[in-house]
């Protein structure tokens, strides 16, 4: 005789489906509803009208300009840094490893304060730059510096892990075939890690674009100079709500595009593997 506590198999399976369904729908709604609310809150006509607001255009261009510069610096400096960091052993490598990851867990506002203490007008180094007539804090350069500090770990971690995972036999073969170390890096190592590096760069772009805490602390909130899109959202929500909503929607669209791009790249990468 079957004990009462045992339910039929079908019943148990349906219960599992129900629990899974509730969880999936619940989590999806929790993540999607706030985004949907943004799109519902403002009509398309108002959105397209507000998009031409000088405040929006200024923040948009400043954000795109600073983020592109940040990305270029991170790729140009970060790629060889990550490569040499992986290929060579040196004293304090573990400390450097930790420092690379630190901005990921550090509150952005703290990162901003740290940058201000170092590069501010009376900062440890900033006072010397100031004496040379190169003010760093509260300039567009400060926005870029804050973005690099906060967003670069996304690229560095990715590049580091790719270089570590690459079978050294490829580079060794290239060297025995007569290629210099630079030629090996550019013709073998980088093409073989390109998809992953692009994913890292896209994530860095996204993080830099959304940077708020470090920027407001170190660069301030000067329209046209340091007021990036996230800062303009903050200002907009305290006055002209439509500006805040329009920029928020623009940021959602850009972030969504970035995520789609990463997915496509990862899919391509998986296809090649």
């Amino acid at each position: 005789m079957i004990p009462k506590r045992f339910r039929p198999k079908k019943y148990r399976r349906n219960l599992t489906y129900l629990a899974a369904g509730i969880l999936i729908v619940g989590v999806t709604l929790y993540l999607a509803l706030p985004i949907l609310a943004l799109f519902i809150r403002i009509s398309p006509d108002l959105f397209f009208a507000t998009i031409h607001d000088p405040e929006v255009i200024s923040a948009l261009w400043l954000s795109l300009f600073t983020t592109c510069i940040t990305l270029a610096v991170v790729i140009l400096v970060g790629t060889p840094f990550a490569y040499y960091h992986c290929r060579y052993s040196y004293p304090g490598k573990v400390v450097v490893d930790t420092l690379i990851d630190l901005p990921l867990v550090l509150p952005p506002a703290v990162a901003g304060v740290a940058l201000l203490v170092l590069y501010g007008r009376v900062g440890l180094l900033g006072k010397y730059f100031n004496m040379l007539g190169i003010p760093l804090a509260f300039t567009t350069l400060a926005v870029i510096m804050a973005q690099i500090f906060v967003a670069s770990p996304f690229y560095l971690r990715q590049a580091k892990s790719l270089f570590e995972q690459l079978d050294p036999a490829y580079e060794q073969t290239a060297r025995t075939l007569g290629a210099s170390s630079l030629r090996t890096l550019t013709l073998v190592t980088l093409p073989m890690t390109a998809s992953g590096l692009i994913s890292g760069a896209v994530m860095t772009f996204g993080r830099a674009l959304g940077e708020f805490g470090a920027t407001i602390m170190f660069a301030g909130n000067l329209p046209g100079v340091t007021q990036t899109m996230p800062l303009a959202v903050y200002v907009g929500m305290q006055g002209n709500v439509n500006v805040g909503l329009t920029i928020s929607i623009l940021l959602v669209i850009i972030s969504f595009t970035i995520m789609i791009a990463v997915r496509i790249i990862q899919k391509r990468e998986a296809g090649h593997a």
Binding site: D167, A169, Q172, T173, G178, M192, H272
Partner: protein, 232 residues
């Protein structure tokens, strides 16, 4: 002719080894895992430095630590097929084979001619424009062999070239290796841990055990069990 004497302190033992390989001769280097076989090849190719070494290839000194002579790896002209063939998966077969010639800045017509010749010799001409990542194990090994030989090396070295291959591909690669080593008369070292490989391809075999030469002779006369560590 290759003459090499080397000493290198490794984690568990000291590699202390000397070998001579004549032009057109295939020397099979055997031994258990971690016996120093691959390290020997890496020292000869210049990928790793020995504590002391004297390596001469065709009367040219590649390395003499005593006099601080050390020809850089890219200038040694050694065809080296590493484990798992290491063909560049994002390049076509043609670009893989042309890689070493381009690194030497040869004219494009010379490169095209030599690449075509070696693709033909290795029976991979029909794969010229295929991405190397899409090839089978046997095809990859042929590409790796062509890529190593197209640079007209003074020495050919192969590290476990038959490990990932099926019986048919193994035989094909063995035949090709043997044919071209004899044809272009260069010394060749093949690292393997399978006795059948050594009898099939080798003119001479050498057994390494914990960094030291345990036995050297004709492959068919190789003892079955190493007398030092009793590895097979």
């Amino acid at each position: 002719m290759l003459e090499a004497v080397m000493v290198k302190r490794l984690r568990d033992f000291t590699l202390d080894f000397a070998l001579t390989v004549q032009p057109g001769e295939i020397m099979v280097l055997m031994g258990g895992n971690g016996s120093g076989k691959s390290t020997t090849l890496n020292i000869i190719s210049g990928l790793i430095e020995a504590d002391t070494a004297m390596i001469t290839l065709n009367n040219q000194c590649l390395c003499r630590t005593k006099d601080d002579v050390d020809v850089p790896v890219e200038d040694r002209r050694i065809g080296y097929v590493l484990q798992n063939s290491a063909v560049f998966p994002c390049m076509t077969v043609r670009d893989n084979i042309a890689f070493g010639l381009r690194a030497r800045h040869l004219g494009w017509s010379v490169i095209a001619e030599r690449v075509a010749l070696w693709m033909d010799r290795m029976h991979i001409a029909d794969l010229a424009d295929v991405k190397a990542g899409n090839l089978s194990g046997g095809q990859k090994q042929r590409v790796a062999l062509a890529r190593a030989l197209v640079i007209e090396p003074g020495l050919l070295m192969m590290d476990e070239p038959f490990t990932a291959l099926d019986v048919e591909s193994t035989q094909a690669v063995k035949d090709l290796t043997r044919r071209f080593v004899k044809k272009i008369q260069i010394p060749c070292i093949v690292v393997t841990h399978r006795v059948t490989d050594s009898t099939d391809i080798g003119d001479r075999a050498c057994v390494l055990c914990q960094g030291r030469k345990e036995w050297e002779g004709i492959p068919s006369e190789m003892p079955e069990i190493c007398s030092v560590c009793h590895c097979k």
